[in-house]
């Protein structure tokens, strides 16, 4: 049966007609053309289909589209600034040579986006645990961990600077 689902995808609110059995992965790829969302296993084991759902990284292969009523979804396509500027996470992956075949990359970017969004700092071991739901066969994770660590620190620096500035405002 077809159902209409109203959701916001990459900042655009839309109503999408979907099969009620349809996974969010298939809706994003086949109906909306958001092919950064990759299909690697369809059972939540590889992490390649990760998207942000109301700010939380989820496996879109395990999530029915009809559950997305009113939800906000962000894919890697939605991260790019209007002028093409990469996010700190994307830039760190480029700078740390963390991209090889690139198939796991968008999923890792979405999880890392969630991680840096906290504004917190994490140890390397914590980062390893936080991204352990993403399987990568090319990199041994070495440069991916380097990149996420770099982005985490850059974003935490910004968060702390902003927070310090606000603290100053409060003092005045």
């Amino acid at each position: 049966m077809m159902r209409f689902v109203k959701m916001t995808v990459n900042g655009k609110t839309m109503e999408v007609g979907v099969d009620e059995r349809e996974m969010l992965l298939d809706t994003l790829r086949d109906r909306l053309g958001l092919t950064s969302v990759k299909r690697g296993c369809e059972v939540g084991e590889c992490g390649a289909c990760t998207v942000l759902l109301d700010g939380t990284a989820i496996d879109s292969c395990l999530y029915l589209t009809i559950w997305c009523e009113g939800a906000e979804i962000i894919t890697t396509e939605g991260l790019l600034a209007r002028d093409g500027t990469l996010t700190p996470v994307q830039q760190a992956l480029v700078d740390e040579a963390a991209v090889q075949c690139g198939f796991c990359t968008p999923g890792i970017i979405m999880s890392a986006t969630e991680i840096v969004g906290t504004g917190k700092r994490y140890t390397r071991d914590e980062i390893r645990k936080l991204i352990s739901g993403h399987l990568c066969r090319c990199t041994g994770y070495q440069n991916i961990v380097n990149a996420v660590e770099r982005a985490v620190n850059e974003c935490a620096d910004i968060a702390e600077r902003v927070s310090a500035e606000h603290a100053g405002d409060d003092a005045v």
């Binding site: 059995r21 790829r29 086949d30 092919t35 950064s36 990759k38 299909r39 690697g40 296993c41 369809e42 059972v43 084991e45 590889c46 390649a48 894919t75 890697t76 396509e77 790019l80 990469l86 994307q90 830039q91 992956l93 480029v94 040579a97 963390a98 991209v99 090889q100 075949c101 690139g102 198939f103 796991c104 990359t105 968008p106 970017i109 390397r124 980062i127 390893r128 645990k129 991204i131 352990s132 739901g133 993403h134 399987l135 990568c136 066969r137 090319c138 990199t139 041994g140 994770y141 070495q142 440069n143 991916i144 961990v145």
Partner: protein, 781 residues
């Protein structure tokens, strides 16, 4: 980036720089297109009907019900497809029938040789309808079943059913038996030397497992017809070979097939085989040229595509008191599963890996047999048979060193393949030897001696050890197979150029290093070389593709030769414009004379060449390099482990790979290759294994939950060093790097466990269960 330890190569401009990957930005933006991303949706989807026995025949199959299901468009069985058989491995074709790959495969077959063999296919409007069709067909199949033969021993039994009587009279696909020349050694046979009582004697039996490549993008292709020809878009390492095999499988002229290769989400050898492209091409030809897609679910990737061959080895070694290896023998059995695939080439590589790393005073006798069984057919996987042989010889080296109280590094250094060594059978030569330095550098960088001293005579439940291993790897496939490659360069109006190669980017960074190579030789910055990443067999120059560790070496020669010609064509035109000039060259993207004076820029020259009323020419070059040479790459791995004895758990504290891959073209992408290989080596050492149920032949763990590959929590920080040499046979002094990093971690971990616990393991993976069982047997826990 790690400090390079030892360098004897002169600097270049573009080659040797850590240039950013040419595809990095598109890949982080999520805009890089892979096969399914390009497939027009909705399209027809095809799902293969897989037999539910491992050995036997389909005696009856009824597709009537399936064909009547809503959404099912067509069902085809083995009765509908062409009768003839075709070969599937991604080897260069041979025009000599004796050297052609074994043709043992039909598109669909009634003879079932593996659990899940392809007996029919359902084409439907969507996956749900296709899956329902598959289930319907499976409930209407009658089999005549034979007991599955999952082991080589079962398949070699005198009464074993012959799986491929059309190509072999027994289940033996191939055998080889080689003895190195014994003239002047005083022995008539290696066995005589092995039995000589003057020497010490070593014997071992090793077993290596079936490993899955586990690329994250599953195998996927789609096909359609246009102008009476079939186009196949595929996630493949070998587009030009896919064209040939589709032509062979369908029995149509090869030129009627067009293959397009977009970005691919990893291959590691599993996409060096033509698996479902021919069926997909045939289906579109039966359905009016409509778009038909075959995207394998992960379970079918495990069950129905390729893997690393399980092998067993029996080895003997005689050595003297002065650490000299006198003689060795090695007998290998390779389990080929239900189809020939890449076949005996893997076992041949395995015994070569055993033989090459060390020299024998007298000689080495190697034998190998590759045997059809009913397990899912193994094929190409990164390092192609060599890890199995290397594991075996590295067990041997450490066991002997330990028994005699020798330092394992000193023992290896004493016996290493020397510079100038030339293989007596195929002539592959050690042109540039950084092998000893990979041991010496690793010893120093790993803190070998300190670690050994610190944990000497350790007892208790937690034990520490350090281990190492060494390897030799051949770069390309010559002289076993043809090595040929073509590149094309065309000039743009702004002085930049396009580079096209038939060699493929599969994640390893090939496009980036080809761009650097072309830029180096032309004399322009790398950013001026635009590489055409996707291959399209209608327009892309010929190359056999990404396999072995051949592309930087073989395709590198084609790029260099083409860039030299392109540069000359540019300079010839520059002389037309500046007839008085002398000693023209291109440097930094400008035409410079012998005095170093800039005479004109590339853009100025290019615009003149395009639009001149006097002489308009589109400057380009296209050259083929047929490479009639090969070379050895070398390396080591050093590992520190902590072993929890009661739990049998191995924690890797520190791991370092050291490589002599000749000149490093791009240190950043080279390190990435090493890291990925190391993680694969760790997985193979400790947990990765395809488990086959001997009663049914069925794969027990065909998913990413039960087949464990390392996650980010399972690997420590990965370290690597490059010992750079300048290989005279390489286009830029370079030699193999793509595959070798995977090899040395596995035996190094084995030897570290030996150092920590005193227990020698001869079977991989060294799972917790196997460790605990062994520790109990030895009374250690």
């Amino acid at each position: 980036m790690e400090q390079q330890f030892w360098k004897k190569v002169a600097p270049m401009h573009e080659v040797g720089a850590a240039v950013q990957r040419v595809d990095a930005i598109d890949k982080v933006k999520g805009t890089a297109k892979y096969t399914d991303d390009l497939c027009p949706k909705p399209c027809l989807v095809a799902r293969v009907v897989h037999a539910q026995i491992a050995n036997g025949w389909v005696r009856a199959i009824d597709t009537t019900e399936a064909e009547s299901l809503p959404g099912v468009v067509a069902v085809f069985t083995f009765k509908d497809v062409p009768e003839h058989r075709f070969p599937t491995p991604g080897h260069p074709w041979s025009v000599e029938p004796a050297h052609q790959d074994v043709a043992d495969r039909r598109l669909l077959d009634d003879r079932v040789r593996i659990y899940g063999d392809d007996i029919a296919v359902v084409v439907a409007e969507d996956n749900v309808a296709a899956d329902r069709g598959v289930r319907s067909v499976l409930s209407h199949v009658d089999y005549e079943e034979l007991p599955p033969m999952t082991t080589v021993a079962q398949a070699l039994a005198p009464d074993a059913p012959v799986l491929h009587p059309e190509v072999r009279e027994t289940n033996v696909l191939a055998r080889s038996d080689m003895v190195t020349p014994l003239e002047g050694t005083g022995y008539d046979s290696v066995e005589e030397a092995l039995a000589d009582p003057r020497y010490h004697h070593y014997e071992a039996h090793t077993e290596t497992q079936q490993v899955d490549q586990t690329h994250i993008e599953t195998n996927v292709c789609y096909a359609y017809m246009e102008s009476g020809r079939i186009t196949v878009v595929s996630s493949t390492q070998i587009p030009h070979i896919v064209r040939r095999v589709c032509g062979q499988a369908l029995g149509v002229p090869w030129g009627t097939i067009r293959v397009i290769k977009p970005y691919i989400g990893g291959g590691f050898g599993n996409k060096q085989e033509v698996l479902y492209e021919p069926l997909c091409a045939w289906l579109t030809s039966q359905l009016g040229g409509r778009v038909v897609e075959i995207e394998l679910p992960r379970e079918e990737v495990f069950q129905n595509t390729r893997s690393r061959h399980p092998m067993s080895f029996d080895v003997q070694c005689a050595y003297d008191d002065d650490m000299n290896i006198i003689a060795r023998s090695c007998s290998c059995l390779s389990n080929q599963g239900g189809y020939a695939s890449h076949g005996h080439a893997l076992a041949a590589n395995a015994i070569n890996a055993f033989r090459w790393a060390y020299k024998d005073k007298v000689g080495c006798h190697t034998q190998a047999s590759t045997v059809y069984t009913n397990i899912p057919a193994p094929g190409a996987m990164r390092a192609y048979g060599m890890p199995q042989g290397q594991f075996t010889v590295e067990c041997m080296m450490d066991d002997i060193a330990r028994k005699e109280g020798w330092d394992p590094i000193d023992f290896r250094l004493k016996n290493l393949m020397p510079e100038g060594y030339s293989d007596p059978f195929n002539g592959i030569t050690n042109h540039a030897n950084g092998f000893p330095q990979t041991l010496i550098a690793g010893r120093e960088a790993s803190g070998w001696d300190d670690f050994k001293a610190r944990y000497k005579d350790e007892t208790g439940p937690i034990r520490h050890g350090i281990g190492m291993s060494a390897f030799v790897y051949k770069t390309g496939v010559y002289p076993i197979s043809l090595e040929t490659s073509t590149a094309r360069l065309v000039l743009n109006q702004d002085g930049t150029c396009q580079l096209s190669v038939g060699a493929t980017e599969i994640g390893q960074g090939a496009d980036t290093v080809f761009s650097q190579m072309a830029a180096e030789t032309i004399g322009v910055p790398t950013s001026w070389v635009h590489i055409v990443s996707f291959q399209d067999t209608d327009v892309t120059p010929f190359d056999t593709g990404a396999y072995a560790s051949r592309q930087t070496y073989v395709t590198g020669h084609a790029v260099r030769k083409t860039a030299e010609k392109f540069r000359q064509n540019i300079l010839d035109y520059a002389y037309e414009l500046k007839p008085e000039a002398r000693g023209l060259t291109i440097a930094g993207g400008e035409i410079v004379d012998e005095a170093g004076e800039v005479l004109l820029g590339m853009e100025e020259l290019a615009q003149e060449a395009f639009y001149s009323f006097r002489h308009s020419v589109h400057i380009h070059a296209e050259e083929t390099a047929q490479v009639r040479d090969n070379t050895f790459a070398f390396g080591t791995c050093f590992v520190k482990v902590e072993v929890d004895m009661p739990l049998g758990r191995v924690k890797i504290l520190d791991i370092l790979n050291v490589h002599d891959s000749g000149r490093i073209i791009n240190p950043a992408t080279a390190e990435g290759q090493v890291h990925g290989g190391m993680a694969q080596g760790i997985g193979a050492a400790l947990y990765e294994e395809q488990l086959i149920d001997p009663a049914t032949g069925r794969l027990l763990n065909p998913n990413l939950l039960d087949y464990k590959i390392p996650t980010s929590m399972d690997v420590p920080d990965l370290k690597c060093l490059f010992v750079e040499t300048d290989d005279p046979s390489g286009p830029y002094g370079n030699k193999a790097l793509g595959e070798p990093p995977l090899m040395p971690p596995t035996p190094a971990i084995r030897n570290a466990i030996l150092d920590a616990t005193g227990c020698a393991f001869f079977q991989i993976p060294m799972t917790q269960q196997r460790l605990v069982a062994k520790f109990k047997e030895e009374g250690l826990i």
